[in-house]
């Protein structure tokens, strides 16, 4: 548990006058579930965007498994074993849920086979299996543009998991999921990730979820990490409660 998988050092990124990252230093330990909390606009998504190659930091460095990945393309970073899901689900809207996930499964082999079907037994079975674990079997053949928000979110995560990453970054995995199902969903997700020995970083607004599933919590505030530690300690810190959780509860 003490081996560093991802190390961010001195990350800075400004959009005009807005400092979305203002000196981020963070090490993610192999095998841990690290939660990121913080108010809207604190720079949580920006951190994920920088780590996955979508945004290039103005300064600082990110290394993964000991190698520098700063400035690499999203494609190169995925190939190294980092996958992500999105705050706004990014699905292929005219494809079914099963096709979406199967395409992610197929992309591990490259997608260059032009004459055998996407839904061949190998890919389809793996996609079906994942959908079953996410409780999405019932909507496997529904087109993605016809899903409700919770299902979209889960399908989006299933696609990221289908890439078999060693590090998975999830941007608000439970937003849009009905409150009554939330804990079950996270429970399932945590099991899938633990089984596959995936390290996870997830942005989360629900403190119950954080308390129950995170090994550590990082508190984001105006592009900086204001606090970092086990949920028990961090969430009971009065300053964090006032600045972050107070705001969260009203957000």
């Amino acid at each position: 548990m003490s081996e560093v998988l991802l190390q961010a050092t001195g990350l800075r990124l400004a959009f005009g006058g807005v400092k979305a990252a203002d000196g981020i230093d963070l090490g993610v330990m192999k095998g841990e579930f690290l939660a990121i909390i913080g108010p809207n606009g604190a720079g949580k998504t920006t951190f994920i965007n920088m780590t996955t190659g979508y945004l290039r930091p103005n300064a600082g460095e990110i290394s993964y498994e000991g190698q520098r990945i700063t400035g690499m393309s999203p494609r190169a970073i995925v190939k190294r074993g980092i996958a992500r899901s999105f705050q706004l689900p990014q699905l292929f809207l005219e494809h079914t849920v099963e096709q979406n996930v199967a395409l992610a499964v197929a992309s591990r082999d490259g997608i260059w086979s032009p004459l055998t079907p996407l839904l061949r037994p190998g890919y389809r079975d793996e996609a079906r299996d994942l959908l079953e674990r996410f409780g999405l079997t019932g909507i496997a053949e529904t087109r993605a543009d016809a899903l409700n928000e919770g299902a979209r979110k889960l399908a989006d995560i299933a696609m990221a998991v289908a890439l078999k990453p060693r590090l998975l970054l999830m941007d608000e995995p439970t937003s849009g999921v009905a409150a009554s199902e939330k804990m079950d969903v996270v429970e399932t997700l945590a099991r899938v990730l633990r089984d596959a020995k995936v390290t996870a970083v997830f942005v989360e607004h629900d403190m119950d979820v954080v308390e129950r599933f995170a090994d550590r919590v990082a508190v984001w505030s105006q592009g900086r990490i204001a606090a970092l530690g086990p949920p028990g300690e961090v969430l009971s810190d009065p300053a964090v409660q006032r600045e972050v959780i107070g705001i969260e509860r009203h957000a």
Binding site: V78, T116, L163
Partner: protein
């Protein structure tokens, strides 16, 4: 629906053969329709990615002029067809490297620009291309056999039909493959492909090259059938015609381009014969009706009549 598709293809082929036997002039019209159908499959490919090329007549013209230029030297259809296909593919690769950086209207207009450059070259380089007079293509041997005119026409018709079948089948397999589905993914969520490690531009480029090859084959067949090539083949209206046929036929299945091309050529011939001054108007009205009432095109209508989905 997918199961019925091959059956429909066989029925359509049978109907075409019957029509070609019944009326020799229909043989000519239907050979052209098959050739255009093959080229329009290339438009359909790009439509899958949500992209419309307004310049694909470039590849038809390239294939046609390849035949016209090289017929005196390699005078055999079985050599000229692959040459036209490979040549158009190579040109498609060069142009594709550039145009696949762009999407939507920019993609469409850049293709248009390329085709108009090619058109001007065909027009202006009179010493090589004979300008707007064009070049005549003589009846050529097929696989070493010298043929009389009727046998030659039947043979080209047969080759066009055979190619339509084989290429249609390959395209159908491709569209359902990981590569084809990733191509369709470009239409709705291109960035997600990158986050799955898939080079979206590479996927589009490979489809673009395939579409150029299909255009080149269609153009070669047109040259062998009409036996006269002119720069008009590359003119923007010819590119528009391909998009027109794609919409008329419907982009939901590989039969669409052939239904569209057959429908288009027949309407054009009949309308031109009966209303010499107004046939464009009739085509326009047909397109309008299709867009308004049958957005899935002729293929979508056929699919619905049989009771499936047009996609």
């Amino acid at each position: 629906m997918r199961k019925i598709e091959p059956l429909l293809a066989i029925l359509l082929a049978g109907a075409m053969i019957a029509a070609a036997i019944a009326a020799p002039w229909l043989r000519f019209v239907l050979t052209i329709a098959l050739a255009k159908g093959i080229a329009v499959m290339g438009i359909l490919l790009l439509l899958r990615a949500g992209q419309v090329s307004f310049g694909h007549a470039l590849y038809i013209a390239f294939g046609a002029y390849t035949v016209a230029f090289l017929a005196p030297r390699f005078g055999d259809a079985m050599i000229l067809l692959p040459l036209a296909a490979v040549g158009a593919g190579a040109l498609g690769l060069v142009i594709g490297l550039f145009v696949t950086r762009y999407r939507q209207i920019f993609f469409g207009m850049l293709n248009l620009a390329m085709s108009m450059v090619f058109y001007s070259l065909l027009e202006k380089l009179y010493a090589i291309t004979k300008g707007s007079d064009g070049i005549r293509v003589e009846i050529m041997p097929v696989a070493g056999q010298a043929l009389d005119r009727i046998t030659y026409e039947w043979t080209i018709f047969g080759i066009a039909l055979g190619l339509a079948f084989v290429l249609g089948l390959l395209l159908r397999l491709y569209l359902a493959s990981p590569m084809g589905e990733a191509l369709a993914g470009i239409k709705t969520r291109e960035t997600r492909l990158e986050f799955m490690g898939v080079p979206a531009r590479g996927v589009l480029l490979s489809a673009y090259v395939m579409s150029a090859v299909l255009g080149g084959i269609g153009g070669a067949l047109i040259a062998m059938t009409s036996r006269h090539v002119t720069p008009l083949l590359a003119y923007w209206t010819s590119s528009g015609e391909l998009v027109f046929i794609a919409i008329l036929g419907g982009a939901g299945g590989v039969l669409g381009p052939f239904l569209g091309a057959a429908g288009y050529e027949l309407v054009r011939v009949y309308a031109a014969a009966s209303f010499a001054d107004a046939w464009q108007m009739i085509l326009g009205a047909v397109l309008l009706l299709v867009i308004l009432f049958a957005p899935g095109g002729l293929w979508g209508m056929a699919a619905r009549a049989i009771g499936g989905r047009g996609r």
